[in-house]
Point group: C2
Chain length 183, copies 2
Amino acid sequence: MSDPTSRDRLIRAASNLFRQKGYSGVGLSEILKEAGLPKGSLYYHFPKGKQELAEAATRWAGAWLERLLDATFAQAESFDQGALMVCETISAEVASQTHVSACPVLSILQAAPLEPQLQITAQDVYGSWTKCIEKHAKRMGSPQPEEAAFSLHCKLQGAWVIAFAQQSNAAFTQLARELRAKI
Amino acid sequence: MSDPTSRDRLIRAASNLFRQKGYSGVGLSEILKEAGLPKGSLYYHFPKGKQELAEAATRWAGAWLERLLDATFAQAESFDQGALMVCETISAEVASQTHVSACPVLSILQAAPLEPQLQITAQDVYGSWTKCIEKHAKRMGSPQPEEAAFSLHCKLQGAWVIAFAQQSNAAFTQLARELRAKI
DNA sequence: GAAGCAATAGACCAATCGGTCCAATGCCGC
DNA sequence: GCGGCATTGGACCGATTGGTCTATTGCTTC
């Protein structure tokens, strides 16, 4: 069994950097420097190189957000309240960092035309999130779970893009205000 | 006065390519090949190089979308109806191309940490859009024009990101369905 | 301690990057 | 035809890119 810390360090470093500068904006040397590992380690753990690392990083961050969704909705008493709490949780998460990082999927999205596998990865992760939200919508008796899931996902994506552009979580607090009014 | 066609060709080529692969994902050689111009022309029209070209391309595309907003809202009988029409117009625009291109601002957003000027450009263009929507919201007697403008901008951004990921305008048609229900 | 595998370390590669520079070209008023 | 400026054409540059390859290290199992 391989030492998990090295592989993990690579994934974390890659995810952080990609979310700030995008897939094409980050060089392997920068990732390796951040992870404190030589090039040999990268190609040992990810033989297909940058693309495979980006895929792993995106799925890792995607799973993290899905856990966040599950944990937050588990505490909610209604879907609308859960939606608000998710928005507030992401807002707090975003605000806790010195820089506002983009949605992890966004980071690899623009590299999709260059690396077809990343397109599939992006669709997979987005699909998982929507399904996850839909699951909770159904569980809480939302009348149109599919529509509600898309609507929330769409708003969160929009707020995340704007927050990234402004380097501020103001968009999330504004969205939270909007969601609170619906309860 | 400089010949507008060369400068314009560069801007159009750059905008198209950036919207597909992102700022860092496109090389100057690719832009020049698409525009059919040599490198000398680029640095004549844009002495500061790639960054200046990207800024011009983003502002150009930003102005195009703002004209689209104005033209669409001008035909609407209410803000909510205008919002729906904008969504449908962008949806049709997106669907008319073989590839779904990202929002022009998104293209340069992830390059912002590398090129500080692009961060300002992105904020400017987003700000113009929001103000433009707000202007129409006020004009049509929307009770909370600021909130309404942010809300629409946010939803459109989200739908655009998802549409880009899925390479389909399904997200826009879904958002249109949601907006139609509010009228 | 020797064999053997997991993992690291980094030299090295061709290709491409953004950018600089200057000669050549085309078009203008004269 | 000529001077002069706007623009083009493209060679050239150092730096960096993603990727390959091999030597070495360190642990584990006999």
